[in-house]
């Protein structure tokens, strides 16, 4: 299977950091944008994006494709997304295994699905159509979820694995989302990591979440938590050097803190590589 480039260690491109990135040229290998924030007529966001993409690889990550919705695919949205992709020439385009609304409504959230054969057939068919329209392979992310459904016929990881194989799409493994959903629903997060097909994973997401004691919420407004770092190590050992980035969307820290988290990833990966080469010797 064709594989996507390994871009290294990236961050979410957020306006609050624009000036610092431009003035300091920090050691970030690539940036991920929220596609919808740039699906606008013109102005500063697109002008800034042009400047960043001259210096860094860009990946487009969307939140509104509503892949699992039973509403018809929004062709106007997909047309606008393709137009942005044609302009930005991203390394790849991703969105979520989720739905955002039905009956023409949009709840602007990533909503959960039952892991049923019906839902699988539905999502697979839609990913295929999206890939035809975008003329590129889609990268699909596992979302954080807060409810699961009694109708589910398989665990999430089996659904994700079958989806990727049948739709011939790639996967964005959000390590924090695996942890959050695993905690909320009580599933084995290691089983999730171990079951996802290794040759389908093109990217990792890392992020912080909020601990409400009885449940976790994927808020992207905290440092990455220790348990997620542990899971990251497991994912890194299994999936090798796929591209990784940190999502930070609120409670923005000094940029240096995010660079520190990226450095921690590099250190973990270097230690894994070093151990592997020692074992091989």
């Amino acid at each position: 299977m064709e594989s996507l480039p390994r871009l290294g260690y990236g961050l979410g491109l957020r306006p609050v950091y624009y000036d610092e990135i431009l003035s300091t040229r920090p050691p970030v290998d690539w940036f991920e944008i929220i596609s919808e924030n740039y699906m606008i007529p013109g102005g500063r966001p697109l002008a800034m994006l042009e400047r960043f993409r001259a210096d860094y690889p860009i990946v487009m990550h969307g939140v509104s494709m509503s892949l699992a919705s039973t509403d018809p695919l929004d062709l106007d949205y997909l047309k606008a997304l393709k137009a942005l992709a044609d302009r930005v020439e991203p390394a790849w385009v991703s969105d979520h295994l989720a739905w955002t609304g039905v009956h023409g409504r949009n709840l602007h959230d990533l909503l959960p699905i039952p892991y049923t054969r019906e839902a699988l057939d539905h999502v697979v068919e839609r990913i295929g159509r999206v890939q035809d329209i975008l003329k590129r392979r889609l990268v699909v992310e596992n979302a954080s979820t807060y409810v699961s459904f009694t109708q589910s016929e398989m665990p999430e990881w089996e659904f994700v694995a079958q989806m990727a194989e049948r739709a011939d799409c790639l996967l964005l493994l959000d390590v924090n989302n695996v942890f959050v959903s695993g905690f909320n629903h009580g599933f084995d997060v290691n089983a999730f990591i171990d079951a996802v097909p290794a040759d389908r994973v093109a990217q990792f997401h890392m992020a912080g979440h909020t601990d409400n004691e009885t449940h976790l919420i994927d808020t992207h407004d905290q440092p990455i938590r220790e348990e997620v770092w542990t899971l990251y190590e497991r994912a890194r050992r299994r999936f090798g050097g796929v591209s990784v980035m940190i999502e930070r969307d609120d409670n923005f820290p000094p940029f240096s803190e995010l660079l520190g988290e990226l450095q921690r990833m590099r250190d973990i990966d270097a230690a894994i590589a070093s151990n592997a080469s020692r074992s091989a010797a």
Binding site: I40, S64, G101, R105, H108, P114, T116, N212, T214, H215
Partner: protein
Amino acid sequence: MKLSELQSLFQSAVLTGDAEDAAILDIVAPPRDADRPTMMGVYVNAYRLRLAEFLDEDYPALRVLLGDDDFEALVEAYIDENPSRLRNARWYTTRLPEFMQESESWSANALAIGLALFERALTDAYDAADAPAQSIETLAEFSPQDWPCLGFTFHPSLRLIEVAAGTLDAYGAATADEDEARSAEEDEGALEDRPMDANESETIAIWRSDLDPAYRQLDPDEYLALFEAMEGQSFGDICQLVAFQNEGQSATERLARFLVTWFSEGLVIGVAEAK
């Protein structure tokens, strides 16, 4: 249960804001530690919080003018009556000024509506389409006898609004630096209570200059001239339509002076003989 039915039930619970008694709970699996309404409540709460955040981001001065309680009441009412049908959240907040105009609770507050219209225009100017501005030298391409026939096209970000008198003052007070803002908040009541002729208004042009929104209050004659020019009227027609006889200047001279300003502000993106 079919996927479509499940999604309808789920959405209904979110839109009605009822996580306690929602029918969807019958098919929600037991969470690990929390109870099912709590977990469903994550989606219910996030929905309203997210939409409120969009409004907060686009109307910061309106929040200061109204005060937190009234602004939040407005936001709640808007969310209740305006479930989003938009794929991109960027435009969710666009209808707020019209919502206020149509609402019994806010339609009498001309200053608040004016401020909402103004802040919406700023937001629209921020990401309106790009177009290179023309310099005034463009006019040199036309002979003086062609001038009466010339028409102009303007930057896609340019908006003209006619709003309640005091709108720009209210915006200035709300967006002043922190100390000034505190004092403005103390004066907030005074600003709202200021006696105002319902017919009293001010006219404002809003556009994007380089990459940032810009605005300027217009005198009534410049507003009229710019309005007509944006409608495609020719230089000669605007001179005839607008009675520029104040300050002892001829209509042509006065309009020429406006044109110089419009060019210097980057508002003009095209000059051609009007059809």
